[in-house]
């Protein structure tokens, strides 16, 4: 194998694929990136056995071939090469090494045979659809914060992506950690309607979010009950799905809450942030005292003091005291795009519904704290 290509192209592709590679591996070849020179150019592939990213890079191929080299090391090397340099990758005939050359720099890297590189046999992915990159970004960004990190309930360690039929076909993403829940939907793209409900793991979500940063307008998605694939321009990400049943989340969404509170989102978040300064590091509870047109936020920490702040709000129902974890409130406030946030409350022991006053499509449920 012998190829020559632009440093910047190689850096960009490696930046995408090398992140999948774990820093510590028990199987040596998983630390490597597969480099394959074909007629169309160079193809890079990395995997952690659950997730695989393949990216093609334009290159001048002098002779075809393939090999694998340590991914992080190759990335670090290429990153440090002079900008605008031409990088030449060449396998040394009989010895298991790859020669990396750029300007006056030469590196010889140990390789492992490409035949040993694992393949994430994706199989048939029958459901295909195309959606706008910004829509996918919205689905992931607004639910990602609620993904559970608790390993025993593995089926909550991802975003539940599924199609529903609720006043027209919709594609919906849901995540919950048992304390709060986020639900975001977009009109279902053509071809998504019949797709199975799948749980996309956290690491995959993070990688897709990162790839979306440099993606074009459109993303193609392909889904089977066990795998999902996103194609973003020249990058193809294939991932296993979490094999589990997402709980029936619909029954925890309180649709009958009758006390409506409308707050200015910016003011509200800033006030929560301010009063929670006095609370201790963990289990920071903020108390919301609601009365006619007025919201009082208060935090008491017997060790250091207390804080209160009053906000003028739109609230007409009977007076109510309710406590929340301030971090959860801030997390949700950060997802709300409009100026006004609407909270639907019932009582201090029942879930509260939060949403953007103006734009529909995203709702959040938060369980209160006893304070």
């Amino acid at each position: 194998m012998k190829v020559t290509l632009e440093r910047s192209e190689l850096v960009k592709a490696l930046a995408h694929v090398h992140r999948v590679v774990e820093r510590r591996n028990t199987i040596p070849i998983l630390a490597n990136v597969l480099i394959r020179a074909g007629k169309a150019g160079l193809e890079l592939k990395a995997t952690d056995l659950d997730l695989e990213i393949v990216e093609s890079v334009p290159a001048e191929v002098k002779s075809q071939g393939a090999t694998t080299v340590p991914a992080h090391m190759l990335y670090d090397i290429v990153l440090k090469l002079a900008e605008g340099a031409q990088v030449q990758l060449e396998t040394a005939g009989d010895r298991a090494t790859l020669l990396v050359r750029a300007g006056r720099s030469r590196f010889t890297l140990q390789t492992l045979p490409e035949g040993d590189f694992p393949d994430l046999a994706a199989g048939e992915l029958p459901h295909r659809f195309t959606l706008a990159a910004k829509d996918l970004k919205r689905l992931l960004d607004k639910t990602q914060f609620a993904i559970s990190t608790e390993e025993t309930r593995y089926y909550l360690n991802g975003i539940y992506l599924h199609a529903i039929d609720d006043k027209g076909a919709k594609l919906r993403a849901v995540a919950t950690d048992g304390h709060r829940l986020a639900q975001v939907e977009i009109p279902a793209p053509k071809g998504a309607a019949g797709m199975p409900g799948v749980i996309v793991p956290r690491k995959t979500v993070n990688e897709v979010q990162r790839l979306l940063e440099d993606a074009g307008e459109e993303v193609a998605a392909e889904v089977s009950p066990t795998k999902i694939r996103f194609t973003l321009g020249k990058t193809v990400l294939t991932s296993k799905l979490i094999d589990g049943t997402f709980p029936d989340y619909a029954r925890v969404i309180p649709l009958g809450n009758d006390k409506t509170l409308v707050v200015d989102k910016g003011e509200f978040a800033a006030a929560v942030d301010r009063v929670s300064t006095v609370s201790s590091e963990r289990g920071r509870a903020v108390k919301l005292s609601l009365s006619d047109g007025k919201l009082t936020l208060s935090v008491t920490n017997p060790d250091s003091g207390s804080a209160t702040e009053e906000l003028e709000v739109d609230y007409g129902a009977e007076a109510l005291d309710i406590g929340f974890n301030s971090r959860y409130l801030l997390d949700i406030a950060a997802q709300i795009e409009g100026e006004k946030a609407e909270l639907k409350l019932a009582d201090p022991g029942s879930p509260t519904l939060l949403r953007d006053k103006e734009t529909a499509g995203a709702i959040y449920v938060l369980m209160p704290m006893r304070v």
Binding site: S148, T149, E150, E151, T152, R153, T176, D177, G178, H179, R180, L181, P247, V252, S280, E281, R282, G283, A285, P302, D303, G323, N325, G349, P351, V365, M367, P368, M369, R370, V371
Partner: protein, 589 residues
């Protein structure tokens, strides 16, 4: 095959399997008999690890010839006068030991009552009784057991080395000696010098003297006295400081009404009391005596009688934990003084070491002294308190004294009236912060995060109902559960402090722990673990220079904090070096 009644010899051997496990159990049974006979002096002789010979001689009431013949029969005893198993006041009562021993060894008993003319002797060999014959002996009884398990070679194979068996037998005597300070014990074993524990007066003082004899000076100097009474249950004894710990629980001497036991309720209570004072895997040294109405405790649980059953385990447990915690809280500002000993033994071991050290140091003097001088500043203490000349003299009489310097930016050197104290600043401050967080948890309760979807946890029905009974207590700790059918509980709220936690795992842990130890320790432990890691991050690290005022403030705060003698990982926070120890180091004493 037809059913038949087993011959008596076989029955006895089967029974012997439960009562006589190893030489130590023979020793225990025989010494208990001697104690029950009202002996004032007991002599125990061991040979061949107790396998070759166990001889127990006492000056107790002895037996008449007729009683002696009956004593080696099964279920024959003089100790249950009114056949009431519910108020056993003697150590033995089952009438099993002598026939069981006779069934597996060569047993010889010589006995004489004080008013009899002469002694009688009986021999039992492998279950076969010989006729009574006259013998010579003063008032009392001498029991000899030779060639243990010669009749059951299979059992003999399971014995450990003679040395190990001998150690176990000696341990059995020590336990009984602890229980009865009023009786003199002499212990003769081949591989060590004979030991005599002199008879002590009844009561607490005698007990303390006996404990010092048996357990040695280490426990005596590094323990606090434990006292407590609730209703009819009284507890007394010694609790070792947490810095004096062992890798196993063998050094936990527990007694119920003078009977040495290894009871789960009591061991569990000890564990709970030391929970946040010791590393996991370290066990405290304790010698604790529980006394209560014999009717409140059932000792007839197992032939070896090391387990007992309390009528009200919760009461005993609660009392024990409270009494231990109170005693430790008072004693906790102390840390084990063993460091000083280690130090002096080091000096002794290296008797000629000082000279050797000087030799290797000498060539250094040959180096250009100017260049050395450049490094001088490295050798001065990190902080020096001498400069602000007038130290308030009164701090010298405080337990931790007055800070004199900080060395290696980690240790505070303080001077007390009769010695000097080295304090590990990080460990000490960590404990202070931890105790503050703990107090806050207790004062304010635990904030609870409600769950969107209550978690259903399937459990054993008994476990589930035990948990639900404690629901009130658990909600105080931030965990709200409800019954959910016979074999499950519903978790509605969890402690907010734990963040996103595995509620099901927590509840299962709790249920298991509760079944075994009857406590909510796992939940408390998790909460405290969070507090503990918070305190570790929130405390002064090693490597930070402290100003003299800061050091003194730390010492004063330690004096005012419970359990300040060790950090919450169980390491000591300070070591005290007595002036006397220092003088020893320099040969002044």
């Amino acid at each position: 095959m037809t059913v038949r009644q087993l011959p008596e010899a076989v029955v006895n051997r089967i029974a012997a399997g439960e009562v006589v496990e190893r030489p130590a159990s023979v020793v225990k049974e025989l010494v208990e008999n001697a104690l029950d006979a009202g002996a004032r002096r007991i002599e125990v002789v061991l040979a061949g690890g107790g396998i070759g010979l166990v001889r127990v001689t006492d000056d107790g009431s002895g037996m008449s010839a007729a009683d002696l013949a009956l004593a080696v029969e099964r279920h024959a005893t003089s100790k249950l006068p009114d056949d009431d198993l519910f108020s056993v006041s003697t150590l033995g009562f089952r009438g099993e030991a002598l026939p069981a021993i006779g069934a597996v060894a060569k047993l010889s008993i010589v006995t004489r009552t004080p008013d009899a003319d002469g002694a009688s002797e009986i021999l039992v060999e492998g279950g076969k009784k010989h006729a009574l014959r006259p013998a010579a002996l003063g008032p009392g009884t001498r029991v000899e057991v030779r060639e243990l398990f010669y009749a059951t070679p299979a059992r003999r194979k399971f014995l450990k080395s003679e040395r190990a068996e001998s150690a176990a037998a000696i341990e059995a005597v020590r336990r009984l000696a602890l229980a009865r300070p009023d009786v003199a014990f002499t212990l003769v074993a081949e591989d060590r010098a004979p030991v005599t524990y002199a008879a002590q007066a009844h009561g607490a003082e005698g007990r303390h003297l006996r404990m010092a004899d048996v357990l040695g000076a280490e426990l005596r100097d590094n323990a606090v006295a434990v006292e407590g009474t609730r209703e009819d249950v009284a507890i007394s004894g010694l609790a070792g400081l947490p810095t004096l710990s062992r890798a196993n629980s063998l050094a936990q001497y527990l007694f119920v009404n003078g009977r040495p036991v290894r009871d789960k309720v009591l061991l569990g209570a000890v564990r709970a009391a030391y929970a946040d004072l010791l590393h996991g895997g370290r066990y405290p040294l304790v010698a604790l005596f529980v006394s209560l109405d014999p009717r409140e405790v059932d000792v007839n649980v197992h032939p070896a009688k090391t387990e007992v059953r309390f009528r009200d385990p919760g009461l005993v447990r609660g009392l024990l934990v409270r009494a231990l915690k109170d005693a430790l809280a008072q004693g906790s500002r102390r840390s084990a003084s063993t460091g000083a000993e280690r130090f002096s033994s080091f000096a002794r071991r290296n008797g000629g070491g000082a000279a050797g050290w000087r030799r290797s140091a000498a060539p250094l003097h040959g180096f250009a002294e100017e260049s050395q001088a450049a490094f001088d500043s490295l050798n001065v203490p990190s902080a020096d308190v001498r400069t602000p000349a007038a130290l308030p003299a009164d701090t010298l009489d405080r337990p931790l004294g007055a800070a004199r310097a900080q060395v290696h930016e980690t240790y505070i050197v303080a001077q007390t009236e009769d010695g000097l104290v080295l304090v590990d600043q990080h460990a000490a401050h960590e404990r202070l912060v931890y105790e503050r967080l703990k107090a806050a948890l207790e004062r304010d309760g635990v904030a609870r995060q409600m769950l969107l979807v209550p978690a259903v946890v399937e459990l054993d029905p008994a476990d589930a109902s035990a948990l639900v009974e404690r629901a009130n207590e658990l909600s105080g700790l931030g965990l709200v559960i409800e019954a959910f059918g016979p074999g499950a509980v519903l978790v509605r709220e969890v402690p907010a402090l734990l963040g996103e936690t595995d509620a099901a795992g927590l509840v299962r842990d709790l249920a298991e722990h509760m079944a075994e130890w009857d406590s909510t320790l796992p939940l408390e432990r998790r909460l405290l673990a969070v507090a503990s890691s918070m305190s570790c991050h929130g405390s002064v690290r090693a490597g930070r220079r402290l100003k003299p005022d800061e050091m003194n403030a730390l010492l004063r705060a330690m004096e005012g904090t419970d359990y300040a003698g060790q950090c919450n990982h169980g390491r000591p926070t300070y070591v005290e070096l007595k002036l006397a120890d220092i003088e020893k180091l320099f040969g002044r004493r």
